[in-house]
């Protein structure tokens, strides 16, 4: 193993994870106002009406597939009676369907963003950078699947990439697992890692605001004027809180 292996498959993922976590915490703490999906639906809807749901539903399925493939060890699935063959069939067919949805949706979205003047003009530099990494991650992932899984003999990433990821999160990184992984899978992993690194600084933060609480809250929300989240009463900055008895403070 070379230094490159350690850089790419140990240092880089850990750095990206660190930036991802700390970046989100800091942004959530200090940039609530900037935390939004920044929808451009009011500018253009004809293309977005198709592209956005296709991409979003597709990518949700893709994420689900990745969670199963990467984080659930093979023996666990086998314990539930999911054989290698069943897994491969499911991953290939469902995965291909999700990939088609995602890629087609993303293509529509990029086409729209580039060619609709109103939308292009509100696209920030960070949006563009994010689009590059998002699109290349999806492209490399799809390419790898098509090349190795559909037309190739099938590559068992659950024997290399998945254990590598789990080795990272069990804090016993093993970069050797990644050295012999096919090229496009390697590229896919690297661009994805870069995307995670950029994540907290892009509009992708809206992923973490998925409003599931909406399903259970009462329809009409009341808030007091004295609510610290209320109008004209931002929470005092750290160090400027009013003095109160420790008991009251802990009750909040």
């Amino acid at each position: 193993m070379t230094a490159w292996d350690y850089l790419l498959w140990v240092a880089f993922p850990y750095a990206a994870t660190g930036v991802f976590v700390v970046g989100h915490l800091l942004r959530y703490r200090y940039d609530q106002f900037g935390w939004t999906s920044r929808s451009s639906q009011t500018y253009e809807n004809r293309l977005l009406r198709w592209g956005s749901p296709m991409f979003h539903y597709g990518i949700l399925m893709v994420i689900g597939g990745h969670v199963v493939g990467l984080f659930i060890p093979k023996p666990w699935l086998e314990f539930f009676g999911v054989t290698e063959h069943m897994y491969h069939l499911g991953a290939t067919w469902l995965g291909s369907f999700a990939a088609v949805l995602t890629v087609a949706g993303l293509a529509i979205l990029i086409y729209r963003r580039r060619l609709t003047k109103r939308v292009l003009l509100v696209t920030t530099v960070m949006d563009k950078v994010m689009y590059v990494f998002l699109a290349s991650t999806i492209t490399f992932g799809t390419t790898a699947t098509v090349l190795y899984q559909i037309f190739g003999g099938g590559y068992d990433y659950r024997g290399s990439i998945s254990p590598w990821i789990r080795s990272l999160y069990s804090l016993q990184p093993d970069p050797s697992l990644m050295s012999d992984v096919p090229f496009f899978f390697q590229l896919h992993v690297l661009t994805a890692t870069a995307l995670f690194l950029l994540w907290p600084f892009t509009r992708l933060v809206h992923v973490f605001s998925a409003p599931l609480g909406y399903l259970v809250r009462p329809y009409v929300v009341y808030r007091s004027r004295d609510d610290p989240r209320g109008a004209g009463s931002r929470a005092p900055r750290r160090g400027w809180e009013k003095s109160e008895r420790p008991l009251e403070r802990s009750r909040k």
């Binding site: 609530q32 106002f33 935390w35 939004t36 999906s37 920044r38 929808s39 451009s40 639906q41 009011t42 500018y43 253009e44 809807n45 977005l48 009406r49 956005s52 749901p53 991409f55 979003h56 539903y57 003047k117 109103r118 003009l121 509100v122 809206h206 605001s209 409003p211 599931l212 609480g213 909406y214 399903l215 809250r217 329809y219 009409v220 929300v221 009341y222 808030r223 007091s224 004027r225 004295d226 989240r229 209320g230 109008a231 004209g232 009463s233 931002r234 005092p236 900055r237 400027w240 809180e241 009013k242 003095s243």
Partner: protein, 555 residues
């Protein structure tokens, strides 16, 4: 019974001259920023007309407001919670910016920098979205004063519901103005639709607000509001709406649209209501019963039981007193001449309107009859189906009875007060015909026609003494790292060392009061002297400037 107070507005449409001063001042205060150029928290529509955004009242198209489902339960017209969440990636009912209008500016520079030539330079319109030249084809009040209505008014959703054909030939039609702000509903559909829970109704005064920090830009509020009074700021990606100028209201002052209304047609005051009764009232079966159901939610502020319950809920005495003096209570519940805008949306709106008698008076006067004679007016209200039906389509879900009652009261006031002003013996049969007495007619006349400032606006100040006053009090050492260090963002804060020390200021009553209490030259801390070290420019120290010349004296 859960007594809540609602800051509400009533607009007397007979007095609206359609000058748009309210819209312009509102825009200057709230929406003169990038991203909300197209947004008018206050707009004035000419009716009949298609409104702003175009056809916003057509709920078959926009799916705004609530509907009563088969089981008798209330649900958002656009669908239940799961359906709304499934549409989060693309809201199918969201108006496009072109449904409002494409905002533009003019190339003003051209007027001063164009080289000398044979033609005068022109300032071409430039889109604020693309920066390109554009043809202006629509705006917030493009059909002002029925301009172009031969083409567009047929799309007015209210006209479509009427049984009689309305001619749009200019000489034969009627028109009036309808100023609109957020309705600050008792059962707000926008709040109910917000997936993030970032929109809320303020417990103290019922003002509906968007928590800009909590908003994640899902855009569901924009489409859920049947009045289309929540706007998407396309620059910040957050929803914005009319705030009822809460920083002013909290100080007991009227909103900017009310303050600057040249017709003095707006009224502001409290309305007490039973929050527990709202949902049942909004779920009532028949659309035309919604007006009475909403009226039944309102509580009598003079009723000892209501007062006791209000006090038990922590309402302060001056708020109860303000509710008793409220012009809103008088116009809605005592005189019953104010009506809500589109009660059939089931949001229980709280900006009500006194319907305009002027379309009727105009017809009567133009036909050579006496436009101030009670019997002529009563007959005309009965006979002139078109304006009455149209008003009913706006204010009472199509039921002409409440509109007729309201118009007859206005007609009675007109006729009764004419006799008084001409020195004739007032005819008590006129008020009796509309179920009122001469005394109440005169009181109503004072409120509607004389309309004193203090009668129009009865606004209790927000209570802060119970709230965060300690936090806002500040301390003589409230500087970064101790005395003399100088705090950040300290503009406008007055401390013992002048105006450079302190914390950033929020838009609160406390701050306003602190600011107005700043030392100034006219009210020096040491009588008779001005300390120039901390002089803040308020007033002029004696002897520092030459005396101001009298206004009348020659220059």
């Amino acid at each position: 019974m859960r007594v809540m107070a609602q800051m509400s507005m009533i607009m007397n449409l007979d007095k609206c001259i359609g000058c748009h001063t309210c819209s312009v001042t509102c825009k200057q205060v709230w929406t003169n920023r990038t991203g909300v150029e197209y947004a008018w928290f206050n707009n004035v529509e000419t009716r009949p007309g298609i409104g702003y955004p175009r056809e916003y009242e057509n709920q078959e198209k926009w799916k705004g407001g609530w509907v009563r489902n088969k089981r008798g339960r209330l649900q958002l017209k656009a669908g239940g919670r799961l359906k709304k969440l499934s549409q989060i990636f693309n809201n199918p009912n969201l108006p496009q910016i072109d449904d409002y209008y494409e905002p533009w500016t003019y190339d003003y520079d051209m007027l001063t920098t164009a080289p000398a030539g044979t033609q005068s330079p022109v300032a071409r319109p430039k889109s604020l979205l693309t920066g390109q030249d554009m043809d202006i084809k629509w705006s917030g009040n493009w059909d002002d004063n029925l301009g172009g209505s031969q083409e567009t008014a047929a799309q007015d959703p209210i006209l479509a519901t009427m049984s009689e054909h309305v001619k749009m030939e200019f000489e034969e039609t009627f028109m009036f103005y309808l100023p609109r702000i957020c309705e600050h509903c008792l059962n707000p559909a926008c709040v109910a639709a917000c997936p993030s829970g970032a929109m809320y109704k303020r417990e103290e005064d019922g003002i509906v607000l968007v928590d800009e920090d909590g908003c994640r830009g899902w855009r569901m509020c924009v489409s859920a509001c049947p009045y289309k009074k929540v706007y998407f700021n396309h620059k910040t990606g957050k929803a914005e709406k009319c705030t009822l100028c809460y920083p002013l209201i909290e100080q007991g002052k009227p909103t900017i649209c009310s303050e600057t209304c040249v017709g003095r047609l707006r009224y502001l005051g409290l309305m007490l209501y039973d929050a527990d009764a709202v949902l049942a009232a909004a779920s009532i079966e028949n659309d035309q019963d919604l007006l009475d159901a909403q009226r039944a939610c309102f509580l009598d502020p003079f009723d000892p039981e209501v007062i006791a319950a209000a006090k038990a809920d922590g309402m302060a005495d001056d708020w109860i007193e303000a509710a008793q003096n409220s012009p809103i209570y008088k116009l809605i519940s005592e005189y019953e001449i104010a009506l809500p805008l589109h009660p059939e949306y089931r949001t229980m709106p709280m900006v009500w309107y006194i319907p305009p008698l002027s379309p009727v008076v105009d017809v009567v006067s133009n036909s050579g009859s006496d436009g101030e004679d009670a019997r002529t007016l009563f007959a005309a209200i009965d006979k002139l189906r078109i304006p009455v039906e149209y008003l009913a389509g706006l204010f009472s879900a199509g039921d002409v009875v409440p509109v007729e009652l309201s118009l007859r009261k206005l007609a009675a006031m007109r006729a009764y007060m004419r006799d008084i002003n001409l020195g004739n013996e007032p005819d008590e049969r006129i008020p009796n015909a509309v179920g009122m007495t001469g005394e109440t007619i005169q009181a109503m006349y004072r409120l509607l026609a004389i309309a004193k400032y203090e009668d129009r606006y009865v606004i209790p100040k927000a209570h802060v003494e119970t709230a965060r006053e300690l936090e806002e009090l500040g301390c003589s050492l409230d500087t970064d790292g101790g005395p003399g260090m100088g705090g950040p963002g300290s503009a406008g804060h007055s401390g013992p060392y002048g105006n450079t020390v302190g914390m950033p200021l929020g838009a609160t009553v406390d701050n306003y009061n602190t600011m107005t209490g700043r030392p100034s030259a006219t009210a020096p801390t040491t009588p008779g002297r001005v300390n120039l070290l901390n002089w803040n420019g308020n007033g002029a120290p004696q002897g520092m400037f030459p005396p101001i010349a009298d206004a009348g004296s020659p220059a």
